[in-house]
Symmetry: C2
DNA sequence: AATACTATCGAAAACGTTTTCGAAATTACC
DNA sequence: GGTAATTTCGAAAACGTTTTCGATAGTATT
């Protein structure tokens, strides 16, 4: 069985390729009679347009690229979920690549996607992205581009973010409202904007409440793992036994903290309250249940695609497009790990 | 700035498009001198071939499709990881779609990928895939196709699986070796082959050890959630208070079981031992740490892509290809939840 | 000097679609 | 009956690449 083409249909019907194409695309200048016969035959033969030819002709592939630090991550896999769903709803497919938090890989993958001529690129930066030349290249080529979650403020593109600083302020204020007087912070790596913002939110909230900021109470993750949570929990208890609250960069690390405290029989939340970030599924399963900041991951994927779509449409029609930033809301979720009397 | 094409290079160099193309692809019938000049200019202009045109001409896109039940799932996201990595290593990109365990969506997505003319398709079936017509369509069109994890034995394609029955036998035997006499099973949904196989493994192992099989001790998940684990744990305790071991279809559900037992202060493993399946990251974090069956997810992705690649190469060269099945090994991981004295 | 062979190049077709533009045929209008 | 307007169609170009096959020029062989 060979491929069905417009030519094939045209020949069996004794008409031109042009007319067949027009009939299938509802052009007005083809009679009702021929349109019907074309559509009938096309359905009978199960004709589907050769997408390679369509791509070449229309210069678009209805495919977008997505680069994220890692797929195996509850937050990102939820974002992926939202992106795929929204893309599919709008007739787009998604090619996914992961940078494994490596700038080198990230660069290579941007190049892959550019060469593939995807219609647009969605991206969350890797932690050691301090060089932006590869991103500039995307913008130079006028490829529609949207950043989400881990973004660089230096790059003039659309962005989807949460207000990390405000969310962190909410979290720390929550601890203070629960009576915490000496609050430690386990922060993310140096580079990423959201780790910086959460740290700033922590610091500001202390100051606002007349609690002195002490840089010794800040612990910096390098790999953001469960094990780091365990290790920092241990250090905090040893170095600052009077700490009564911890704000942790993300739930995974916070769960590590809880695990250590459980093992050492340190009562949470009564001796130390703990609040995490991003409302990982697991945080409501662990004991004690972890209070956290809910971060709308699926919605972030949807919003990111929507922004990209807008830009792709403008790009196609050669209209100007002004980058926009969408900021999504967050909520404190109070569970057992901050439920002090 | 406009797109650089072969024509552009040819004109500035005063030679034909043919020669430029050949020079860049190292054809033997172009002189060293012209080859050098072509390559030099191509690099200077940053020429990259228009992939749309290449696709049309070569009838391949170096892109494969992947359909899985859900992205947000520790096992599948690890498989995705392996597939993407191995594909990239071999010059392929991956389009990911998720069926959300819906046959309807699955059918639509197969159609999307066929129309997109991907070079091959990788797939793990959704739970209610009892109709195979859409898969047959893939095979009819001779599109390279590999199933993994959740497969249908009725479909003659390459497959990557684990030996679910044997793995289940190992797990149940482990419980028996630990002294369990009355073992319940929380099984997966009716349809999927691996749920069936694990159930059969459970049943056979009981028989082999002269423990009577009792269908009342088998509980069937419909959605395979944490909540189902909680609920079934409750039922088991109420209906069969003398059960001393449970083999659970997957870790997520097993964690639900442990959560309920923790709440009710039922000692695990001493009153009831629990073993899960697939070595979720979380199972070593929960208290008590969950014994489980380790399932090589990343490796499964790599193996699936490798099989697909073999088939794609044969397909391109019009060579015959015989479907193969790769079976990956599993290991019992003994942790606290089965550590009885 | 005629022949055979090699090295180097390019014309042209092909992949299958979309879209412009003009031609032909039909209908409407005065 | 003549002109104008409308309807319906198709030729052809274009998208950018790959590859076949033939042509030309130069070199080597008798």
């Amino acid at each position: 069985m060979r491929e069905i083409t417009l030519k094939e249909i045209a020949e069996t019907l004794g008409i031109s390729i042009t007319t067949v194409s027009k009939a299938l695309k509802n052009y007005p200048d083809v009679s009702e009679k021929t349109r019907k016969s074309v559509i009938a035959l096309a359905e009978k033969l199960q004709y589907t347009p050769n997408s390679f030819a369509v791509n070449l002709r229309t210069k678009e592939s209805k495919t977008i690229g997505l680069i994220i630090p890692e797929v195996v991550h509850h937050f990102f896999s939820n974002v992926i979920n939202g992106i795929i769903a929204q893309a599919e709803k709008n007739g787009y497919l998604v090619i996914i690549l992961q940078s494994n938090e490596s700038l080198e890989l990230e660069k290579k993958q941007v190049e892959l996607l550019i060469n593939k001529r995807v219609d647009g690129i969605l991206m969350s930066l890797s932690n050691d992205s301090n060089d932006e030349n590869h991103i500039k290249e995307i913008l130079n080529r006028k490829i529609p581009f949207v950043q989400f979650d881990k973004i660089s403020k230096l790059i003039p593109s659309s962005k989807v973010i949460i207000n990390d600083q405000r969310a962190a302020m909410d979290a720390v204020q929550h601890l203070i409202n629960k009576g915490c007087k000496k609050i430690a912070h386990i922060r993310g790596p140096i580079n990423p904007q959201n780790a910086i913002d959460r740290f700033l939110g922590y610091k500001k909230t202390l100051e606002k409440n007349d609690i002195p900021f002490d840089s010794k109470l800040v612990y910096t993750c390098t790999h953001v793992t469960f094990e780091e949570g365990v290790e920092f929990a241990k250090q905090i208890i040893e170095e600052h036994p009077d700490v009564d609250g911890i704000f942790v960069i993300t739930d995974l690390v916070a769960v590590g903290v809880l695990a250590h405290f459980n093992e050492k029989n340190i009562p949470v939340p009564n001796q130390i309250a703990v609040i995490g970030f991003s409302n990982w599924f697991m945080s409501q399963v662990i004991n004690p249940k972890l209070s956290t900041v809910d971060q709308p991951s699926y919605e972030m994927g949807v919003a990111a695609f929507n922004l990209l779509l807008e830009e792709m449409i403008c790009h196609k029609d050669a209209l100007p497009f002004k980058p926009r930033t969408v900021e999504l809301g967050t909520n404190i979720i109070e569970r057992e790990s901050t439920l002090r009397k």
